[in-house]
């Protein structure tokens, strides 16, 4: 799946993350701004790439503004942004997520 349009999920509240998915050709790129960048930056980028892979994303830019969200929150925000981008609102593949 390639990104053709953009989508957003999440908020800038403390302990949340705002995720945008934008078109970007060639590969999956992750851009991270985080209040805990020093401590968890590498981990969050790896998590985002993993999640993208599970979703079957082939290219696109995942922009994350993280305010100290836990992994489960970041993952959920990426998935939501992804399905908003694809427009899929029913029959989500829960067993893969």
């Amino acid at each position: 799946m390639k990104v053709t349009t953009q989508a957003i999920a999440g908020t800038l509240e403390s302990s949340d993350a705002q995720v945008m998915i934008l078109p970007h050709s060639g590969s999956v790129k992750v851009e991270l701004t985080s209040s805990v960048f020093d401590q968890y930056g590498d981990h969050i980028i790896a998590l985002a790439k993993d999640t993208a892979k599970t979703l079957g994303l082939e290219d696109g830019l995942i922009k994350i503004v993280d305010k100290g969200a836990l992994d489960c929150t970041i993952k959920a925000r990426i998935e939501t942004a992804f399905y908003r981008m694809t427009g899929q609102t029913a029959d989500l593949p829960w067993e893969v997520l």
Partner: protein, 500 residues
């Protein structure tokens, strides 16, 4: 040298009588001679202490390069005094000063300019936040910053570790002879407790007020017999901003639930008896504890003998409702506390009376309970309230180490995780309060009792307090947040970890 809590204190800091931490009661029984100021006698009865401007007061005080000046922070974020004085000093081109403050924050940001150009090269304070905290964390201050608790600062002034050359004391009211008070005027601060030692031990004392009153301005927190000069300015500060900063009243369910557990710990501790005493910190859950404590007091017909501290509205409310007999006030945190300071049985105490470990018995030693916050807690129960996990200075020890060491039961209340940062962890960034003085840690995921306190563990055994070990709490925090990678720490090993 490795100190008693396993922190490496660089030898370069262990000079001029500075010792590594060797246990909280290591200096019990220590004998010393108090320091004394050099005083200019005012023998002739024609002495006029009023001077026209801060500029004139600075000049008359004889302030020179390399001296130490002091300030208090009773006006908190509304303070104009520090910036007004520093601007005059800056204009005069005086350099290499040490600022000995009771706390520093947003309102004192002109110090940033002064640090950057060498007007100020040393700082000793009981709190450091915002821009000043960042500048010092970046290493722009020439000499190491010394952070002492409120009691530690009072001790350092009285035993001569800190020698104040000129004290600048902002006061809500003063008479022309320098009898000054935190009460009345345009900028009412309730009390002037932290400036007491400054007035008694500084060589030169300048009172700065915006409200001159007829003498004698009694009761005076600062006595005219200790004051050299009085300056009247248009305004010393914005009293509406006294309440800003650390204070907030919580509606957060998580914080309220923690506060409930804290009150429960107090109730079952064995120390909850008629006439008990307590102090709470200014954090959300600490403040909220008062509400739940009241329910237990009603239930068992128990009254609090005295509440101390940083006084806040929730304490004043209990006092007014008759649940607390007396208030001992070293700082009025909000406008309700300021108003209450004018009433009967609300007493002002000095920083030394409050918490100085080197006098003949500070009030902290008579506390039954203290409820405090924490940025970080480690599995040795050591607490950090000063340095953020990224190394930036952003807090105040205040009376944290003093009250924890003095109180019969010291309780830390903090969420297990804050915006992904584990509060309970293997090792705190720096130690503000050593674990041997911490008895109970209350989090939103359980309560840990210091294994040293077998009496409390026994008392809580058959209650519904959700007991866990500190290691279990740490494991939970790491499980949810993931283990943090060690971050860049500015100036590692600064004396921050050294407890006086």
């Amino acid at each position: 040298m490795i100190n008693k809590i396993g922190r490496d204190i660089p030898d370069e800091y262990l000079k001029n009588g500075v010792e590594p931490f060797q246990g909280i009661y290591y200096r019990d029984g220590y004998q010393y001679k108090k320091a004394a100021p050099t005083v200019r006698a005012y023998v002739k009865p024609d002495g006029n202490k009023l001077v026209d401007s801060i500029h004139d007061a600075v000049v008359k005080s004889g302030l020179k390069d390399g001296m130490t000046i002091s300030f208090h922070h009773h006006l908190r974020d509304g303070d104009y005094v520090v910036n007004m004085v520093m601007k005059e000093i800056h204009k005069l081109g005086i350099k290499d000063l040490t600022v000995c403050a009771t706390s520093l924050g947003k309102a004192h940001n002109y110090l940033v300019t002064c640090i950057e150009d060498g007007t100020v090269t040393g700082i000793s304070t009981s709190g450091i936040r915002d821009e000043i905290g960042e500048v010092v964390s970046e290493g722009k201050l020439k000499h190491p910053a010394v952070i002492r608790s409120h009691g530690g600062r009072a001790r350092a002034i009285e035993d001569g570790t800190v020698k104040i050359d000129v004290a600048f004391i902002g006061a809500s009211t003063s008479d022309a002879y320098g009898n000054a008070s935190g009460k009345g005027g345009k900028s009412d601060t309730g009390v002037l407790a932290y400036a007491d030692g400054d007035a008694k031990y500084a060589d030169k004392v300048v009172v700065i007020t915006d409200t001159l009153v007829d003498g004698p301005n009694f009761p005076a927190s600062i006595e005219g017999v200790d004051v050299d000069y009085v300056v009247k300015v248009d305004s010393i500060g914005d009293p509406e901003k006294i309440a800003t900063g650390a204070l907030r009243l919580t509606k957060d369910t998580r914080e309220l639930n923690m506060a409930k557990e804290v009150a429960k710990c107090i109730y079952y501790s064995g120390y909850f008896k008629d006439g008990f005493s307590f102090q709470t910190g200014a954090g959300g859950p600490s403040l909220a504890t008062t509400t739940f404590l009241k329910q237990y007091m009603e239930k068992d017909h128990i009254k609090c003998g005295w509440a101390m501290g940083g006084v806040t509205e929730p304490i004043v409310d209990l006092f007014k409702a008759g649940y607390v007999n007396e208030i001992l006030d070293d700082q009025s945190f909000d406008l309700a506390a300021v108003a209450s300071a004018h009433t009967q049985n609300h007493f002002e105490i000095s920083a030394s009376q409050y918490a100085n470990p080197f006098n003949k018995g500070a009030f902290v030693n008579q506390l039954s309970f203290v409820i405090l916050g924490a940025l970080e807690i480690d599995t040795g129960f050591n607490v950090n309230v000063v340095q953020g996990s990224n190394g930036i200075l952003r807090g105040a020890p205040g009376g944290h180490p003093d009250t924890a060491a003095g109180a019969s039961v010291s309780i830390i209340v903090a969420p297990l995780i804050r915006s992904r940062m584990p509060t309970v962890r293997d090792k705190v960034t720096s130690v503000t309060t050593p674990g041997e003085s911490i008895d109970i840690v209350v989090t939103d995921y359980g309560v840990a009792v210091n294994p040293r306190r077998k009496d409390l563990l026994a008392a809580f055994k058959d209650t519904n307090i959700p007991l866990k070990t500190i290691e279990e709490l740490r494991d939970l925090a790491y499980q949810y947040a993931g283990k943090a990678k060690a971050s860049r720490i500015y100036r590692p090993g600064r004396c921050l970890s050294r407890i006086p």
